[in-house]
Symmetry: C2
Subunit: 196 residues, 2 copies
């Protein structure tokens, strides 16, 4: 079966997005954008290497809806096709978790499928991936659903020197003791790989 | 004026103690004790060096009441004198934050003073320390009070591969962007020093 991984950029206080997420502030208020400096313009070799790990080819992805876009509630007549333009960086099927049904969106190299529950999304991703890795590409809720089911093999946390004070935690309610198998340090983040 | 530092052992999800703290489980339930493996029996040289940093002589300490002991509410006729026996490792005045007045406790090398508000405790600690460092020795609430006042110069976080799922955060409500100035990695913890 496919290996299942996940990655998140996380704050000192364990949040991946701050409070008050909105269309204008999709990461929430506070220093949430600053957390992402490690992959937004950093030329540090460690950051570049970790970005390379994150963006390495995968068999399929599972993604929370907020990772796909800022639209909340029903899709209505939204023509949103993701943050990434005509050719998203995934080049694989991406299964987006949403309570609201939506037809697939086929872009160059990547098709977004919309699925209403995590188990079904993961099952479809594993089937699509074959022997390749399936990655849960965030956000907090999608990764938490993987962690609480015990299906995540490896989690990469890129931790920035930012506290958000409140927000969304991938570990909410979960008491886990993974093994840290790798640490890479850059000026922008401490990148740690945990095995479960 | 004295430099003001703080140190905490912290979980992946940013908590220094788990939920349901009690006399039997002073750190709360879950893996909270496992978080402290780095200074409870570790012979790893990085852990030993960081423990040496934490226990290096200070001019004075400020300490939350839960760090001093498990007694909650009024002191009553408690004869509790701290976790450490007749000779605590501090060898300096320790100002313990408590809502309930208590006479000083003088032990070999260390006197515990009980103070009902943070500002007064810090003021007394700074006065007692002279040119030496004042350290806020935890827990979450005491360090948070220092952080929100902007008086902490350096914070050491020793982060263990444990998630607690809920608990006490030193950053609750605080949106900060300190500078990480040091990282030391052991098998038991990632030790990071932040400057504010």
């Amino acid at each position: 079966m496919a290996k299942i991984t996940a990655h998140l950029t996380i704050s000192l206080d364990g949040y991946v997005a701050g409070p008050d997420q909105s269309l204008e502030n999709p990461m929430g208020t506070g220093g949430a954008m600053a957390m992402h400096a490690w992959h937004l313009g950093s030329s540090d070799p460690v950051d570049l290497a970790m970005a390379g790990v994150v963006m390495a080819p995968r068999g399929a992805y599972v993604m929370g809806r907020n990772m796909f876009g800022p639209v909340r509630g029903g899709w209505g007549d939204s023509d949103w096709t993701g943050w990434w333009g005509d050719e998203p960086p995934y080049h694989a099927p991406v299964f987006v978790l949403t309570h609201h049904e939506h037809d697939p969106i086929e872009l160059t190299g990547t098709t977004f499928h919309f699925v209403t529950d995590f188990d079904s999304a993961l099952e479809q991703a594993v089937a699509a991936a074959g022997d390749d890795t399936v990655t849960i590409a965030g956000g907090a809720s999608a990764v938490r659903q993987g962690l609480e089911r015990g299906v995540v093999d490896e989690l990469l946390l890129s931790r920035a020197a930012v506290s958000l004070g409140a927000g969304e935690s991938p570990f909410a309610g979960l008491q886990l003791t993974p093994t840290r198998v790798e640490v890479q340090v850059s000026p922008n983040a401490t990148h740690e790989v945990y095995r479960f």
